[in-house]
Structures are given as structure tokens and as C-alpha cells.
Symmetry: C2
Subunit: 283 residues, 2 copies
């Protein structure tokens, strides 16, 4: 935050920056893992920033949280056991628990402070933390996956920060191989996969790495996300069995309200622009 | 551009700003209509800025130009006569002329300097300016439409700046009524309609105003646009007859290369997120 009241995140590799007008800084701390800041902004509501990168705002988090959860959960035939690796703001957990099929949702966040601050500053994202199906663990997700039994989860949601710092190990082959092992035979993993415009190379590399780890099919999907680099974001789903659509009628009949997601938006998110399709095909 | 080499556009109503790292300022002038600046940027290539608002960059203009042209042209059954109101950078004209059905494409740009600078600094966008089917007029689009005969055009593309300054009159009922009159019985008008996240009210208002001017059907579509406010943009198509899909097989068989547009992306762009659907329905 500079002295004229703006928080700015610079994207040095892509010669650009996004700024939010700040009313006041509500909190700042150095946790054992990272620097966490909370701002009250003029138009985006409350904003969480980790190590200088915008993470969550009141205004636009619905896009990310709905898209990191509902597509994968309506793609899996019966998602009973869900892990969220990262996701400390609890927004993904909340969306996951809207699905009646889910019997157990374990959030494995390395930094307890992210969750405690989210409980304080983003109470709307934390309304399901006390759901009896929810478990909040504050341990290393990489270790968790290594230690877990084969065939112990149906859906893994990797809701991490960028592939630098604490989250770096969540983007490599060793991690994906362990996830593959833990997933049930029709298990699906979804991971946030950065910006189609800025990180097409990374997305292509993730496809290759994930397939190398044993996954037989991969689908990237995309959605707007104003406060993330380029304003355009993606997730990538990989599966132990080939994808064959999603549970459209269940998605249509869902009992919960969404602001972005619906059946048409789900299909639309899977329409990959030509330049990205070509980049992924190149490997 | 500040003294550390950044150009910043501030979105004061939405408490945010987007900045591009500039290598050098290539040109600046005050035309009779507006201030035009050209920058060489670090990652976005050449950038045109009008009255402080980013208009076109080498890097991401394909999104806007493909989406403002191919959806409407593949929706019209036989788009022979096309007008582009605004569009002085000539990128929309170029995409329009890729369609073999088009017999006449008239670009009506009020500010000749925009086109002359585009010819100089964005030569890739201007490769079709000498196409025998193209006419470049430098006159007021509002007056042009007023003076034009009934039933004299099949598709009108309003490729304007924001609804302030010179472009304000391109967003009101009087203008839409004149467009309606000029369009052939199955004519379609498409207009850029700002950001779904920042301007949902404007989009809803445009639907109401356009219907009020006589159009019987309206479809908003959306796409990412990194350098525009919120990184997420939209266009709105209105028609004198109800929409009933688009010429999918022609779009599939198109002879020209696109980087964003294809049949799946066309359908996807029409999937309107729930919050916007609800806002439009409210009127």
C-alpha cells in the first residue's frame, strides 16, 4: 500500500500491475509461512493479500470459489470424500459442503493464520467451518498426501497460491503421483492453473506433468477473476478415467444458489480458446 | 505515464486501476476529438490510449476484434452489407472482411487520426484497409445513421469508446432507433457493452433501451480482455427478428485462422453468468 491509498500487485514478467483503492489496512502479520495483510477497499470490500499477491476479495471471490468446486464435484459420479489442499480462506470448503453427496471434506491448509484471519475478516466464507462433515487440518498438504492410504479420497481440490514459495511443491510430478495413488478409481483432481493469457506455458506443462503422473485425461476450464493477474483465470481437472461429461441434471437441479455457476457456464468454461488449445497440444 | 515508466488507467468508480510497463512513448497528440497516445510497452507490444483509456494492444486485441465480429456475422444468415461505427483502429474491419459473404464493409470513424495512427503503429490491424469491399469514412456515425436510407445494411457493429465523450450518443435510444430503421428485416446490431463485473447496470439498461428502440431480441456475450476495466468485457447483439442460433457449420468450416474464436467459444460466450442474467431480467 502506497501513501496515496492504493495497494498494487505488480506482474513483473508480464509488464503489468493491478491496483485496488484502499480505505484502510485492517491487519498485517508475518506468519511462520508468509506475510498476510488484510485491507478494507473502496469497491472490492475486504481484501486478503499474501506475500504481496491478492488472494480473496469480497467482491469477486464467488467466481473462483464456485468454479474451483462445482465443476469438479458435478463431474465426479459420487463425490463423497473431498480434500482441499490449501484453501485456507474456507471459501472452497463452503461451496464443497453445499453438495449433499459429500460425506467428508478435509481442508489441509499449512498456515492456520490464513484460516483464523478469514474467520475474522471473511465470516461469509467460513459459515460451513463447523459443519460436522468438515475437518480443518493445519499441516503440510504434501506430507498429508504422502502419508494417506491408497484409494482414500474421491476428489482433491488444490486451492493453492502461485507455484512459488510454500505452494511450489504442489505443482510437481511427485505430488501428482501421490494424489493419483490416494484417489479412488474414478477420482478427480482439480488445481488452479493460473492465467490463460499469462501462463499458457505453465498450463501446457501441468497437462504433461499430470499425465506423466498417471492421470489419463485432463480438462482445463477458465473464468474471469478480476483481482488475479490478467483478470482471467483457469483450473485444470485430471482424472483416473476418461472424462465423459458431467452430471448435468444434478447440476440443473442443485438446491443451492450460485452467482456465476450453472449448467451453461460449466459447459462454457470448458470451451478452450484456440491459442490455448494449440499451446496445450504442443505439450 | 509516470516517471517510473508505467501507464496507469484508473477506474475511479470501481476503486481499481490497471497499469502497463512502458518502454517508451512513441506518439502523443490532441486530435480535434480526443487525446491519442501511443506507447511501446514491455509485454503488451504497442498500445493505443485515447483520453487516458487503453484502447488496443498488440498482445490482446485479438480477443476483442474476433468477438465483436465473428459471433454477429455467423449469426446473421447472409451478412452482405456491414457498417462499423467507430472502430478506427481497423481491427474489426479486418476481421469482417475475412467473411466471404461480405460485399461491402463501411467503417464510419469520427476521428481520422485514430486510423492514420493505427496504419502507422498497428499495421497488422490495417492489412484489409485497401480491400476493394472496404470504405473508410471519417464522419460522425450518428449523423451517418440518421442520413442513411431504410433497409440499407445487414449488420451494424458499434465499436466505440466508453459511453462518455464522443461516444456518448452511441448508447441512447435515438441512435438505436435510427439503426433499427437502417437495418434490413433480419438485421443485427452488436455493440460493445463494457464489463459484466463493473457495468452490469449499464448492460441491463442497454437491453431495455435497445428493446425500446424496436429490437425484438437481445443477447449479451462475454470474453476476457486484459487491458479493459476488470479484465472482462462484453458485447450485446440485438436483432429485428428473434435469435435462433448461428450458422454453426459455416463457422466450423471458416477458412480463416482465429486465436480465440471457434464454434465452442461462440456458444460459450453466450452463457451468461447467473448474477448478470438476474440483473438483466430485472431491467
Amino acid at each position: 500500500m502506497n501513501d496515496t491509498g492504493w495497494f498494487t500487485e505488480v506482474y513483473p514478467k508480464h509488464g503489468s500491475a493491478f491496483s485496488l483503492k484502499v480505505i484502510e489496512k485492517l491487519h498485517a502479520e508475518q506468519s511462520p509461512f508468509q506475510k498476510i495483510e488484510i485491507f478494507k477497499t473502496e469497491w472490492f470490500g475486504t481484501l486478503m493479500v499474501i506475500d504481496g499477491c491478492t488472494m480473496v476479495s469480497d467482491r469477486d471471490n464467488f467466481l473462483y470459489h464456485e468454479m474451483m468446486t462445482h465443476p469438479v464435484l458435478f463431474t465426479h459420479p459420487n463425490p463423497e470424500r473431498v480434500w482441499i489442499i490449501g484453501g485456507g480462506d474456507c471459501g472452497s470448503l463452503k461451496e464443497v459442503l453445499r453438495h449433499g453427496e459429500v460425506k467428508e471434506a478435509i481442508q489441509i491448509e499449512i498456515d492456520e493464520r490464513v484460516t483464523r484471519l478469514s474467520e475474522q475478516y471473511f465470516p461469509d466464507l467460513c459459515t460451513s467451518n463447523t459443519d460436522p462433515r468438515a475437518q480443518l487440518l493445519f499441516i503440510d498438504g504434501i506430507q498429508w498426501v504422502k502419508d494417506a492410504a491408497d484409494n482414500s479420497v474421491d476428489v482433491i481440490i488444490v486451492d493453492s497460491t502461485d507455484p512459488v514459495g510454500p505452494a511450489e511443491g504442489l505443482f510437481n510430478a511427485a505430488f501428482f503421483r501421490e494424489c493419483f495413488r490416494c484417489l479412488s478409481p474414478n477420482g478427480i483432481l482439480v488445481q488452479q492453473s493460473e492465467s490463460p493469457l499469462f501462463h499458457a506455458d505453465l498450463i501446457a506443462e501441468m497437462h504433461a506433468t499430470m499425465r506423466g503422473a498417471g492421470f489419463v485425461d485432463a480438462q482445463t476450464f477458465h473464468f474471469p477473476q478480476c483481482i488475479y493477474p490478467s483478470g482471467w483465470w483457469s483450473g485444470t481437472m485430471v482424472s483416473k478415467t476418461p472424462f465423459s461429461g458431467f452430471r448435468e441434471s444434478d447440476a440443473e437441479a442443485r438446491s443451492f444458489k450460485t452467482d456465476y455457476y450453472d449448467v451453461d457456464v460449466h459447459k462454457a468454461a470448458l470451451a478452450i480458446p484456440r491459442f490455448l488449445k494449440e499451446r496445450i497440444a504442443k505439450g
